[in-house]
């Protein structure tokens, strides 16, 4: 196993009354795999992936859990060890590429600088490497683009620069956090195709964080669904789209297909997780919640429903049957 995360918990805000951003999340990624992490915004998927790099957004802290990469425990690394690890073993691509690039430096220099932070290389060698990466991620006229500033690039171009930075040291794993959310549909597909192509070329795994199930269907081997800071469903992609087994997955799917079917939607927006609800965290918003099944009183475990497909729902059987067959072909 390349990456193995166990019981990872992240809290935000005050220590006395923390907001539970991520609650005891476990997932794994093996070599060469493309794994989708999906969930509505605020479900904790970005926080969980950032934590794999030992980072949190402002005010966040990792309070519990274990992150193992190639068997080595990462939580507890020193500052310098983290610095050496990030970028060289795991590359990150974020969702707003132009904000992620330093506005006053040429993009080629920014690629070279990351490369030189991890590898012994002269300036000329680093520049060569930057040009090579620009070609690799599908940028025409790399010599000219090398000298461009971030504000001179289109969104798709800037996203390719981030991919080049993330791949500069051929990491074993690439984390792409909503890599195409700011791009229009045609560019989206191109960037994702390029992303899949280059990760295969360099032989790394890819963790694709998204709220778009279409992307999961087209690009991923396996999928984790996050909701309320938890993993609520995990499965291989075929089994998942054949019969999704959690209300959160159904909600994402019906949103994707612009369904008007209220019976499949979650009610309202994600709640603050300062006081966690009793029972299933999702029950205040869930159309399937039911007193008799214990949704209000008993926190559901991840039920194994066969062939590695798991669902954190007391009523997963009902949920699996709820989806009209016309959705299942997504």
């Amino acid at each position: 196993m390349l990456l193995e995360v166990k019981d990872l918990s992240i809290e935000y805000g005050s220590v006395g009354a923390p907001n539970h951003g991520v609650c005891a999340v476990s997932f794994s990624i093996s070599e060469g795999e493309i794994v989708g992490i999906v969930g509505e915004s605020g479900s904790g998927k970005s926080s969980a992936m950032l934590a794999v790099l030992g980072l949190t957004r402002e005010g966040g802290r990792i309070v519990n859990g274990s992150v193992r990469f190639e068997g080595q425990e990462l939580l507890g690394l020193t500052r310098e060890e983290w610095r050496a690890f990030r970028g060289s073993s795991i590359g990150l691509v974020t969702q707003s590429p132009r904000a992620a690039l330093n506005p006053v430096r040429r993009v080629g220099e920014q690629i070279a600088e990351v490369y030189r932070s991890h590898r012994k290389a002269t300036k000329a060698q680093a520049r060569e490497r930057a040009l090579e990466l620009l070609r690799l991620v599908g940028i025409n006229d790399p010599e000219r683009r090398h000298d461009a500033y971030p504000h001179e690039l289109s969104g798709g171009m800037a996203q390719r620069i981030l991919i080049a930075i993330a791949l500069s040291c051929t990491p074993k794993l690439l984390i792409a956090d909503e890599p195409t959310s700011g791009l229009d549909a045609t560019v989206q597909a191109q960037v994702l195709d390029d992303l899949r192509r280059v990760t295969r070329e360099v032989g790394s795994s890819l963790a694709l964080v998204t709220h778009d199930l279409g992307i999961v269907a087209n690009y991923c081997d396996r999928v984790y669904v996050m909701e309320s800071g938890e993993i609520v469903e995990e499965s291989d992609v075929e089994s998942f789209f054949a019969r999704p087994a959690h209300p959160a997955s159904l909600a994402l799917l019906s949103k994707q297909q612009d369904s008007q079917d209220e019976a499949l939607r979650l009610r309202g927006a994600p709640l603050d997780r300062i006081v966690l609800p009793s029972g299933c965290f999702l029950h205040p918003r869930c159309p399937f919640a039911d007193q008799a099944s214990g949704c209000m009183t008993e926190h559901p475990p991840l039920y194994d429903i066969g062939a590695g497909h798991r669902s954190r729902c007391h009523r997963h059987q009902t949920v699996r049957d709820a989806l009209p067959s016309r959705y299942a072909s997504a």
């Binding site: 402002e58 992620a100 991890h118």
Partner: protein
């Protein structure tokens, strides 16, 4: 870059003319009669008429303004009504002292404020940060001339380690022969170390006073700017790519300082005004003291000259800082 400079210069000229014209007119609508002051209260009508003609006040306001502006373009700021010397010469004689004073204060303030602002941004909410913040508030809350008097009381009167506020050299000490008009430079070039140290000791308190007040806002600006950069998406991303500590620090400094520089240039303009009070407190014969003295004796050409001169100087500083900003931030270059 060249077009940027040209564009800015096109703005500078009309600005200068406008300032000159406004000052010229404002002085003349003041309820004081310069002829009264110069000819004396009991002058005969003939003498009054003669003085009026000599000062050119018998002509229409428009004609006076026209010839004044025309003069400025040839570097002629008119003749002082008090001394009958060319205003330009009087200013050239006094400006170097003011420039030394404010430049020293400016750089001393930056030299303290940048590390202090960075340190307090690096540890937001720490004791260093809180101390720096309260200092910024405290130093800026009292006027600079008041601080000047306080420092005089402490360092000259009580401790006796710095000289009395009577000019830039101890009375009786000969100034070095002029080369650059900057007394510190001239003393160094002539190898008169004693004079150099003496001038530095006399400049110490006024410089400390101005720098003390200026360091407050500079620290605040640096702190704010560095803080916003350190919390930016791109610094978070740089951290996530394992960028080396050295490269991170360089980005933080470069991106954080660019806005501080432009803001600082505006303070340089303010300093020119502040110098008038400080020079008065410390009896430094610079352009500020000159303006104050000449205003009191209704020497209009001198006052006009100082205002136009200082405006030109402030505009020049803005231009330099803008160019520096453009050099540091490519986005400025392209949007211009």
């Amino acid at each position: 870059m060249k077009t940027l400079i040209l564009k800015r210069l096109c703005f500078v000229l009309p600005q200068l003319v406008l300032v000159a014209a406004v000052v010229f007119v404002l002085l003349r609508i003041l309820p004081v009669d310069p002829v009264d002051r110069i000819a004396g209260q009991f002058a005969t009508p003939e003498l009054r008429a003669q003085v009026e003609e000599e000062l050119g006040l018998d002509r229409s306001l428009g004609t006076q303004l026209g010839s004044y502006l025309a003069g400025i373009f040839q570097g002629d700021f008119g003749t002082s009504w008090l001394t009958s010397d060319p205003v330009r010469e009087e200013m050239v004689e006094r400006f170097p002292l003011t420039l030394q004073l404010i430049t020293l204060a400016f750089f001393v303030a930056l030299a303290i404020a940048i590390p202090l602002g960075r340190a307090s941004a690096a540890r937001e909410g720490s004791r260093v940060d809180k101390a720096a913040q309260s200092y910024s508030l405290f130093a800026g809350a009292q006027p600079d001339f008041w601080w000047g008097l306080m420092f005089l009381f402490l360092f000259f009167f009580k401790a006796g380690i710095l000289p009395a506020p009577l000019g830039v050299l101890t009375p009786g000490r000969q100034a070095p022969d002029e080369i650059t008009h900057f007394i510190l430079l001239d003393a160094l070039i002539r190898g008169q170390l004693g004079v150099f140290v003496d001038a530095l000791r006399h400049l110490a308190l006024p410089v400390i006073t101005l720098a003390f007040v200026l360091t407050g806002p500079f620290t605040k600006m640096t702190r704010q700017s560095v803080l916003s950069v350190s919390k930016s998406e791109y610094m978070l991303y740089a951290d996530a790519t394992g960028l080396s500590e050295r490269a991170m620090k360089r980005s933080l400094l470069r991106n954080g300082l660019a806005p501080v520089l432009t803001l600082a240039a505006i303070f340089f303009g303010f300093l020119l005004g502040g110098a008038a009070l400080i020079e008065t407190v410390f009896t430094l014969n610079g352009l500020g003291l000159y303006a104050v003295q000449r205003m009191l004796v209704v020497d209009f050409p001198a006052v006009q000259g100082v205002v136009v001169w200082m405006t030109a100087f402030a505009l020049l500083m803005y231009l330099i800082m803008d160019l520096l900003y453009a050099a540091l931030d490519p986005r400025v270059r392209y949007s211009e």
